[in-house]
């Protein structure tokens, strides 16, 4: 009896684990401008080529502007980094979806869109949020630049097997509660190191009921709970999403793939090293108050008393007091986007609240589609007009304010409600104070100019 993780692992072992780690085959390698220049430099030094240019795909997302799709007049260092990726891709024969491509976007948004992310595959990228792709029942995790070089050169990774950690969300969600609230609730419960050494498998009826965008939100933040990867067993929702996409199998190959994919879910009675069950019905919209994603509370709760020196520092940085309610706390910036919540359904959720309403004048609101394709689809259904008429900025695709290395950032001392994944000190800009929440909560807060409960609008 095997888990989903066991099955994917077993089918990718080239050389089994002994004293040395296993040599694990990698089906898809996604690369971007920030974590690859030193890897390509290493390849050149060794005189090596990219082993599988048909399994390697590049895009630009972290350090690009979202104000326009041009680098003209942009930060010189960032522009050089982007150009370095382009020249490396040319030299090594790697396909690149650059700023002129209709397929460009955040690496974890375009992988699934293109049909590269498929059940049962192994997928890596030099970015910790690669865990996103686990939503399809693919084993996907972030790697460092040395490992990027390793995969470019060998299409393999030296890897020791992780443990299995089952996370069940039983029951169903209440209105106004979303996938973002589920994953924040989990991390609040187990802590940012709770999943270290493990791979999460997310199951239960509340996960089954989620669409692919929402499943990606949950798997995306697995790393914030310490697990390198998170998985959801593939089902009809998964298959419907993948079917017909550019790199998805077609015709007889599709039927074969489907038969294979249907065998992937964990066997009944398979062993998990750890397990936790969360009653979905008990969940409320969540928001963070501190400086790591585990410092999260229900939106209606009060800031807890600090238990460690780290908590004290977090509250000081956030300028929050123990016992203070977050509802009504004034904010300056709202960011909707990122590989966590920059997909079409996220934008639809935010637009549903903003339609016919205005962003509070004290708030700067940025809506950044996760990919060019998300942008195109959102515009086709008029979401861009909803955001612009409400007074929000409608931007080009990229990582934007999630990482503050691309011109989009939150000013020092300002508070943002952000749909991104990290509230670390300085993450959205030096001195910026980040409150992580769902697109619904972010939209509600933008309207009110302070942290607000989306359920008041429904």
């Amino acid at each position: 009896m095997k888990t989903l993780y066991d099955k994917i692992w077993d089918s990718h072992v080239v050389v089994p684990e002994t004293d040395a780690p296993a040599i694990l085959y990698i089906d898809i390698h996604l690369i971007h401008e920030v974590t690859t220049p030193q890897a390509f430099a290493g390849m050149k030094k060794r005189g090596l080529g990219v082993r599988r240019t048909d399994k390697t795909f590049a895009t630009m997302d972290h350090s690009i502007p979202t104000s326009s799709r041009s680098l003209a007049g942009f930060d010189e260092m960032a522009a050089k980094q982007v150009q370095t990726l382009a020249s490396n891709c040319r030299e090594f024969g790697v396909p690149l979806y650059d700023l002129n491509s209709a397929k460009q976007g955040i690496v974890h948004v375009i992988g699934p869109e293109l049909g590269l992310t498929q059940p049962g595959r192994t997928l890596v990228c030099g970015d910790s949020h690669t865990s996103t792709h686990g939503a399809f029942g693919a084993l996907a995790h972030g790697i460092g630049t040395s490992e990027v070089e390793m995969v470019l050169a060998t299409q393999c990774l030296l890897q020791r097997k992780s443990k299995n950690f089952l996370v069940n969300f039983d029951g169903h969600l209440k209105p106004g509660v979303t996938a973002k609230d589920m994953i924040l609730a989990l991390i609040a419960k187990i802590g940012t190191g709770g999943g270290t050494g493990h791979v999460f498998e997310f199951g239960g009826s509340a996960v089954r009921a989620l669409d692919m965008d929402a499943r990606m939100t949950i798997c995306n933040m697995s790393i914030e709970g310490g697990a390198r990867a998170g998985l959801v067993a593939p089902d009809d929702t998964t298959f419907q999403y993948v079917a017909g996409r550019e790199f998805a199998p077609k015709g007889a190959a599709w039927d074969e793939a489907l038969a294979r994919w249907k065998k992937l879910p964990s066997d009944d009675g398979a062993h998990f090293d750890q397990a936790i069950t969360i009653d979905a019905l008990s969940l409320e919209p969540m928001i963070t108050y501190g400086t790591n994603p585990g410092m999260a509370i229900p939106l209606t709760a009060r800031v807890p008393a600090p238990a460690t020196p780290e908590d004290v520092q977090a509250l000081k940085y956030m300028a929050l007091e123990p016992g203070q309610a977050l509802l009504g706390h004034p904010i300056d910036v709202v960011f909707i986007g990122s590989c966590t919540n920059g997909r079409l359904s996220d934008l639809r959720n935010a637009a549903r609240l903003l339609r016919g309403r205005k962003v509070n004048p004290r708030v700067r609101m940025l809506v950044v589609p996760g990919s060019y394709d998300v942008k195109r689809l959102a515009e086709a259904e008029g979401l861009d007009r909803v955001f612009k008429e409400a007074g929000a900025e409608w931007r080009e695709a990229g990582c934007s304010m999630c990482i503050a290395m691309n011109g989009d950032s939150v000013p020092s001392g300002n508070t943002s409600v952000s749909t991104s994944n990290r509230n670390f000190e300085g993450r959205q800009g030096k001195g910026a104070r980040t409150l992580l929440a769902s697109p619904l909560t972010a939209a509600a807060s933008a309207i009110e100019g302070c942290v607000a409960d989306p359920r008041q609008f429904e």
């Binding site: 080239v14 050389v15 040395a20 780690p21 040599i23 085959y25 920030v34 974590t35 220049p37 030193q38 430099a41 060794r46 090596l48 972290h62 350090s63 930060d75 260092m77 960032a78 050089k80 980094q81 370095t84 030099g126 970015d127 910790s128 690669t130 972030g142 790697i143 460092g144 630049t145 040395s146 490992e147 070089e149 390793m150 050169a153 060998t154 299409q155 393999c156 030296l158 020791r160 992780s162 940012t192 190191g193 270290t196 050494g197 914030e224 310490g226 390198r228 790591n292 585990g294 020196p309 780290e310 990482i403 503050a404 290395m405 990290r422 670390f424 000190e425 300085g426 993450r427 030096k430």
Partner: protein, 172 residues
């Protein structure tokens, strides 16, 4: 590999890679000089040059996969970090750059006071504290061999090239 140094202690837990090296310094295309931005936004950590061993709280290196965090620590002069646990990706990145991630229990960790002389010997996997105990620490056996014998991991995988090729053929 043996490191003997007075230690720098940052007692905080969950120090993420954004604290080690803020994202705005990731726009480089090489590794040169990245150590000058180590902990740039956390001056209160008071991490000064001259020590080769950093001691930090639990779950060190959580967050982003940026290897820049390891490069910055190395470039600054650190050869080892001691904690009660490390985030998975950071630990991997460390081992690949011969920055030793040394895990000790909380009792030993509590003994590690600022400026104490600590000796770490990779070969025997022993850590000795000045006027204190000597304890063993775990480390991945393969990574240990690679560091001690200068084995290149990519070269190691390439030796299995025929196994990779037959795996690829079998799957096609």
């Amino acid at each position: 590999m043996k490191v003997a140094s007075r230690i720098v202690v940052v007692p905080q837990e969950n120090i993420d890679t954004d604290q080690i090296i803020p994202a705005r310094f990731l726009k480089i295309t090489d590794k040169a000089g990245i150590g000058q931005h180590l902990f740039e936004d956390r001056p209160e950590f008071q991490v000064k040059k001259g020590s080769a061993i950093l001691v930090a709280g639990d779950n060190f290196g959580c967050g982003s996969s940026r290897e820049h965090a390891v490069w910055a620590l190395k470039d600054f002069g650190f050869q080892a970090v001691i904690s009660t646990s490390f985030a998975d990706i950071f630990r991997q990145n460390s081992l690949k750059n011969a920055l030793l991630p040394v895990v000790v229990d909380s009792v030993t960790h509590a003994l590690l006071k600022q400026d104490l002389l600590v000796t770490i010997d990779l070969a025997s996997q022993k850590l000795s504290i000045e006027n204190g105990p000597t304890v063993s620490f775990p480390i991945d056996s393969f990574s240990k061999t690679c560091i001690l014998e200068g084995i290149d991991e990519i070269g190691y995988i390439l030796k299995h090239d025929s196994a990779i090729s037959s795996f690829e053929q079998k799957r096609n």
